[in-house]
C-alpha cells in the first residue's frame, strides 16, 4: 500500500485521532513509525515525527497519519514536582494516543527509545529496548555511532516520567511510581526456560495473584532497522530470516513484497505459486513447533517429541529446495533464489498425506487431555474489543473472534484464489489459541494441496538491474506471519539503500497485552498464557 498520510493541526491531533477511531471506525492501530524526516522541497522542513498506520476492522480499509513533533525546552523549574530528570533539555513532543488505542503504550515507548520523542500524557516514558544509561537516541540521523558496552548491571528507575503542557504552554514532567512500597516483585527472565528466549517480565504479585506486569524488552535487540539504513536493498534481505526464525519465509516475503511494490515489479505466476506454498510450509513448521512447545512448557515432554519428529519432515521438504534447515534465504527481489527441486512436488504431496492424520495424534496425546483443558481454559482471557485495542493479531486474536487474517483481508499472491477458511473461535482464552493453531494446520494443508499439482511453467526470477533503486515514496506491505500480522514500512528517497525501514513485529503487541490478560490471574497462568500465545523474542526486539 502506498502511503498518502493525512496531516492534522498539532492542537487538534488528539481530537482528530479519536474521531478517526470512533466515527470512521479505524479501531486497529497497526503501527507507529518514528522517523527523522529529511528536508525535502520548500514546504517540508523535515525533522522528527511519526507516521501512524490505521485499519478499519470492518471494511479493512487502511489509512495513515503523519504528525511532526514540536520542540521545546523541558521544565521551567516552577511547576514540575521537583524530579526534573530531563529539565533543561530540548525535547521533541507529540500528544499521546495511548488512551485511544492501548497498543500505543509500547509503540510510543519504542519511538521514544529510538528517537527521543516524548508523548504528552503517556504515563510511563521509559526506554523500552535500550539500557537506561544508553547515550543518545540511535535512530536519529545525527547520532554518532558508538558500540561500547558495560558489564555492570543497569540501574533501572522505579518510576516512569509523564510529560504534559502546563497552563502557560510549558513542557513539564512528573514522576509516576511503578510499584507501591509493599509490592512483591518477581522477575521472570531474561534467562528463563519458559519465556521462549530472553524476555523479561517484571511481575508484581499479591500473594499468588498477578497485580501488574511490566515487560522489559531489548535483551536481543540487534538494531536491524538501523543496519538496514546503511545497506543496499539486496543486502537487507539476509537479516529478516533471523527475526522470528520460525517464520523466515513470511518475514522475507514482507520485505521483498514492499520493495517489489515500490519498484512496480510484476511477478510470474510460478513465483506466486511457489511463494504461497513455501509460506504455508513455513507456517506448518512454526505451528508444529508451537504445539510441541506448549506441551513442553506445561510439562508434557512426550507431546513435545511427537510434533518435533514431524517437524523434521517439513524441514526436509524445504531443505531440498532452499538448502537451509531453519534460515532459508530463499526469496529475493524479483523472485526466488533458485527453482524448486525436481522432487519437491512429490515430496510435498507425501508430506501432506502423512501430516493430516498426525495432527489428530497431537490432540490425542496432549490437546484433548483433561489436564490440558483444565490448565488452559479461562487462562489469560481477552475480549474481542480488547484484542483490537491491544492489536493482538494472529491466532491469538482469532481465538477471540477477530477476523484479522491478512491473507483474507488484504490478499497477496494466491491467497485470494484458493479456497480456505479463516479459523476463528470465540472462547477468548488460551485453549482457544491452541485450537486455532491446530485448525490452521489443516487449512495450510488444504492450501498446499490445491496448489501443488498446478505449479505453472515460467521463470522463477524476473531479472532485475544489478543496482536496485526504489523510487521516492512510502509504502507499507504486510503478510500474515506465523503469529500475527507482519508488515514492513519503507521510506525510500530514491537511493540504493532505504532511508527508513521499519517492521511491525508480531510479538510486540502480544507482550503488551500480557498485563491486561493476566491481571487477577494466578502466577502459574503467566507461563501457560506465555506458552499459548506464541511469541518469539528476536521478532519483538528486532
Amino acid at each position: 500500500m502506498k502511503l498518502t498520510p493525512l496531516e492534522f493541526e498539532f492542537d487538534q491531533f488528539q481530537k482528530k485521532m479519536r474521531e478517526l477511531k470512533e466515527k470512521s471506525h479505524y479501531d486497529y492501530l497497526v503501527t507507529i513509525v518514528g522517523e527523522d524526516f529529511p528536508k525535502s522541497g520548500l514546504s517540508d522542513e523535515g525533522g522528527l515525527g511519526c507516521i501512524y498506520i490505521l485499519e478499519n476492522t470492518e471494511s479493512h480499509k487502511r489509512c495513515s497519519v503523519r504528525m511532526m513533533a514540536r520542540k521545546q525546552v523541558c521544565g521551567d523549574g516552577m511547576s514540575s514536582n521537583g524530579t526534573g530528570d530531563t529539565d533543561g533539555q530540548m525535547l521533541a513532543y507529540i500528544p499521546s494516543v495511548s488512551d485511544i488505542w492501548r497498543v500505543a503504550d509500547l509503540l510510543e515507548r519504542e519511538v521514544y527509545d529510538f528517537y527521543g520523542i516524548v508523548f504528552l500524557g503517556h504515563p510511563d516514558m521509559r526506554r523500552l529496548y535500550l539500557r537506561t544509561d544508553f547515550n543518545g537516541y540511535p535512530f536519529r540521523k545525527d547520532w554518532k555511532f558508538d558500540d561500547s558496552y558495560k558489564l555492570e548491571d543497569d540501574v533501572e528507575p522505579d518510576y516512569g516520567l509523564e510529560y504534559y503542557l502546563d497552563k502557560d504552554g510549558c513542557l513539564q514532567s512528573k514522576q509516576n511510581k511503578l510499584f507501591d512500597a509493599d509490592d512483591y516483585v518477581i522477575n521472570v527472565g531474561p534467562q528463563h526456560p519458559a519465556t521462549h528466549g530472553v524476555l523479561r517480565l517484571q511481575t508484581v504479585l499479591n500473594g499468588e495473584t498477578v497485580k501488574r506486569i511490566y515487560p522489559h524488552l531489548g535483551y536481543i535487540h540487534r538494531a536491524i532497522e538501523k543496519m538496514w539504513e546503511g545497506m543496499t536493498y539486496p543486502q537487507t534481505l539476509a537479516l529478516t530470516d533471523r527475526l522470528n526464525y520460525l517464520g523466515a519465509m513470511q518475514h522475507r516475503h514482507a520485505l521483498v513484497g514492499v520493495i517489489e511494490e515500490g519498484m512496480g515489479v510484476e511477478l510470474t505466476d510460478r513465483i506466486k505459486y511457489i511463494r504461497t506454498i513455501m509460506d504455508e510450509l513455513q507456517r506448518l513448521d512454526s505451528h508444529l513447533l508451537y504445539v510441541s512447545c506448549v506441551a513442553q512448557d506445561l510439562g508434557g515432554l512426550t507431546a513435545f517429541l511427537y510434533s518435533m519428529r514431524d517437524r523434521e519432515h517439513v524441514l526436509n521438504c524445504m531443505e531440498e529446495t532452499t538448502g537451509g534447515r531453519l534460515i532459508q534465504n530463499y526469496y529475493r527481489i524479483g523472485g526466488l533464489q533458485d527453482d524448486i527441486d525436481p522432487n519437491f512436488v512429490q515430496n510435498v504431496k507425501a508430506l501432506v498425506k502423512y501430516l493430516r492424520p498426525m495432527i489428530q495424534e497431537y490432540l490425542d496425546v496432549f490437546g484433548d487431555n483433561i489436564i490440558t483443558h483444565n490448565r488452559l481454559e479461562n487462562c489469560g482471557p481477552m475480549s474481542l474489543e480488547d484484542c483490537i485495542s491491544y492489536a493482538v493479531t494472529g491466532p491469538a486474536g482469532r481465538a477471540s473472534g477477530w477476523k484479522n487474517d491478512v491473507r483474507k483481508n488484504h490478499p497477496y499472491d494466491l491467497y485470494g484464489k484458493v479456497e480456505w477458511e479463516q479459523c476463528t473461535l470465540d472462547s477468548c482464552d488460551s485453549m482457544g489459541r491452541y485450537m486455532v493453531h491446530i485448525n490452521e494446520m489443516y487449512q495450510s494443508l488444504n492450501i498446499i494441496e490445491q496448489l501443488i499439482d498446478n505449479i505453472p511453467e515460467g521463470d522463477f526470477y524476473v531479472k532485475q538491474k544489478p543496482i536496485i533503486k526504489v523510487p521516492e515514496g512510502q509504502w507499507y506491505f504486510s503478510v500474515e506471519g506465523v503469529a500475527g500480522e507482519f508488515g514492513v514500512y519503507l521510506d525510500s528517497r530514491g537511493d540504493k539503500s532505504p532511508y527508513r525501514m521499519k517492521m511491525r513485529p508480531m510479538g510486540l503487541s502480544l507482550v503488551g497485552a500480557f498485563d491486561a490478560m493476566l491481571r487477577g490471574q494466578k502466577y502459574a497462568d503467566l507461563i501457560a498464557t506465555c506458552a499459548a500465545i506464541d511469541i518469539v523474542i528476536p521478532d519483538i526486539d528486532r
Binding site: Y149, L151, P190, I224, K226, L239, R242, R325, L326, P538
Partner: protein, 239 residues
C-alpha cells in the same frame, strides 16, 4: 604413566580436526609427570564427566531451535549423555551459548558464567556468538562472546546444523577427557581472566595480531557496475 590421547568410539583419532591444540595441552600436562594413582583416578573421573555433560539452556535466538532439534527424535543427543539441560547455572557443566549476545544481555551472560561451579566450559554456537555474525555492524551486539567469557569450543554456522552442534559437543568431550584434577587442575579461571573476562589465549592472540573483532568486513566480488557508480558519485562529489 601418561595422559592418554582422548578416544571417542565412533570416530578415529586422525579424523578429528584440531588435534594439534589438544596435543599441546597433553604435553603441558606431562611436564610435571603423572602419578599412577592420581592419573588413574583422573581417567575415571574424566570418563564419567565427559559422558554426562549438562548444559545450561542459554538460547537467545535461532541457534536455540537447532539445539532443541538436537535433543529431539531425529538427532537425539541423549546418545552422548548431553540430554540433561539445566535451567540453573549452579547445576550446569557448560554454557551452550546459542545466539546473539547484545549489550543489554552481556551482564547477564557474565553473571551466569560466574555463577557456575568449576570446572566449567563455554561452547559458542553460531556466527553471532563467535564474532557478531551478520549483526557485526550493529551498535547493540557484542562482537563475539570471547570478549566476555573464555570459550572452549566454537561451532560455526548460521545456524549450525544439529550435526555440527554434536561435533562441537564431542570435541568438548575430548577436551574434558584430558583433564587433570589431582596434582594441578588445568582448567581454572585465572585471576586475570576473571577480571578482564577474556581467556589467556585470546589475550596473547590480541597482543600478536591485534583485535581481530573490530576490523571492518571486506567484501570482494562486487558487480563492476556498482563500483563504477560509486566512483562516479565520488567524482561528482569532488567536483
Amino acid at each position: 604413566m601418561e595422559v592418554r590421547k582422548p578416544h571417542i568410539k565412533s570416530i578415529p583419532y586422525e579424523e578429528w580436526n584440531d588435534n594439534a591444540s589438544l596435543e599441546k595441552i597433553i604435553d603441558e600436562l606431562h611436564e610435571g609427570g603423572v602419578g599412577v594413582v592420581t592419573g588413574s583416578l583422573d581417567q575415571l573421573i574424566n570418563w564419567g564427566r565427559s559422558n554426562s555433560l549438562w548444559s545450561l539452556t542459554f538460547a537467545t535466538s535461532c541457534c536455540g531451535i537447532e539445539f532443541m532439534a538436537c535433543g529431539c527424535s531425529r538427532y537425539d543427543f541423549a546418545r552422548f549423555g548431553f540430554e540433561v539441560t539445566r535451567n540453573s547455572p549452579r547445576q550446569a557443566d557448560l554454557i551452550m551459548c546459542a545466539g546473539t549476545i547484545t549489550h543489554k544481555m552481556a551482564p547477564a551472560l557474565k553473571r551466569l558464567y560466574d555463577q557456575m561451579a568449576e570446572p566449567k566450559y563455554v561452547v559458542a554456537v553460531g556466527g553471532c556468538a563467535i564474532s557478531g555474525g551478520p549483526f557485526k555492524s550493529s551498535y547493540h551486539v557484542v562482537k563475539g562472546i570471547e570478549e566476555i567469557v573464555p570459550v572452549d569450543v566454537f561451532v560455526p554456522g548460521c545456524p549450525p546444523r544439529p550435526e555440527a552442534i554434536m561435533y562441537g559437543m564431542m570435541q568438548l568431550q575430548r577436551k574434558v577427557k584430558i583433564e587433570k584434577f589431582f596434582g594441578g587442575a588445568n582448567h581454572k579461571q585465572t585471576k586475570e581472566e576473571r577480571e578482564l573476562g577474556v581467556s589467556n589465549e585470546e589475550l596473547t592472540f590480541r597482543a600478536k595480531l591485534g583485535d581481530h573483532r573490530r576490523e571492518p568486513i571486506v567484501v570482494t566480488d562486487v558487480p563492476q557496475e556498482f563500483v563504477d557508480e560509486l566512483k562516479k558519485e565520488k567524482e561528482d562529489a569532488a567536483v
